[in-house]
Symmetry: C2
Subunit: 107 residues, 2 copies
C-alpha cells in the first residue's frame, strides 16, 4: 500500500486535442513535462491519451502554492495560449487536495 500522495495537490487536466499540429504539440508537451519536473514542489505526473483524442493528465505537487507557481510560470502561460489557439477543442481543470492514497501491485 502506497500512502505516497496523501497531502499532495493533484491538478487534474482533461482535454480533447484538435487534429492540428501534432508535431508542434508533441514537442511542446515534452518541453512542458521537463520544465514541470524541474519546478519546486513537483511530485510526479500520470498522463494518458486515448484513441478518441481525449487525454487525462494528473500532475502532483507538494502543496497548493507550488501548483499555483507552476500555473503562473511564464513559459507555461505562453504554452497555454498556444494550446487554446491550436491544440485543444476544450479542457477542464480541477485542483484537488489528496486526502487518501492507496496502491496495489500484482504479487
Amino acid at each position: 500500500m502506497e500512502q505516497g500522495r496523501t497531502g499532495e495537490t493533484a491538478v487534474i487536466f482533461i482535454a480533447e486535442r484538435t487534429a492540428e499540429d501534432d508535431a508542434g504539440y508533441a514537442a511542446a508537451a515534452a518541453a512542458m513535462d521537463a520544465l514541470a519536473a524541474a519546478q519546486p514542489g513537483y511530485r510526479g505526473i500520470d498522463s494518458v491519451r486515448g484513441g478518441d483524442q481525449v487525454g487525462i493528465t494528473v500532475s502532483y505537487w507538494a502543496d497548493e502554492a507550488s501548483a499555483v507557481a507552476w500555473r503562473k510560470h511564464p513559459e507555461h502561460a505562453a504554452i497555454r495560449e498556444a494550446g487554446r489557439e491550436r491544440w485543444y477543442r476544450w479542457y477542464r481543470l480541477h485542483v484537488a487536495q489528496v486526502g487518501r492514497s492507496y496502491g496495489w501491485e500484482r504479487p
Copy 2:
C-alpha cells in the same frame, strides 16, 4: 468557465491492464459505470485508456461519504477482487477534494 466540480470529491484511479480477459473486463467496466452512475452523490466520470494499457479514470462525488459508500458497495467490492485476480497489473488510487475547477471550450 465551469465551476462545476468545486467542493466535489474526485477519486483518481490509475491502472495498467493485463492482456487477459478483454471481454470480461469490458462487460464488468460497463456494468460498474452504470451502477456507479445510479449511486447517491454520483456527479460524473472521466475515463481514458491509452495504447499502452494504462488508463486513468476520475469519478466525481458530491462528498467524501458518497465516495466511501461506493467503495463499500458489495458489487463494487466483488468486481475489485476480480480486477486484482485477472484484469490489473497494478493500480493507484487517490481520493481528493476539489478546491478549484475551471473549463475552457473553443469559441
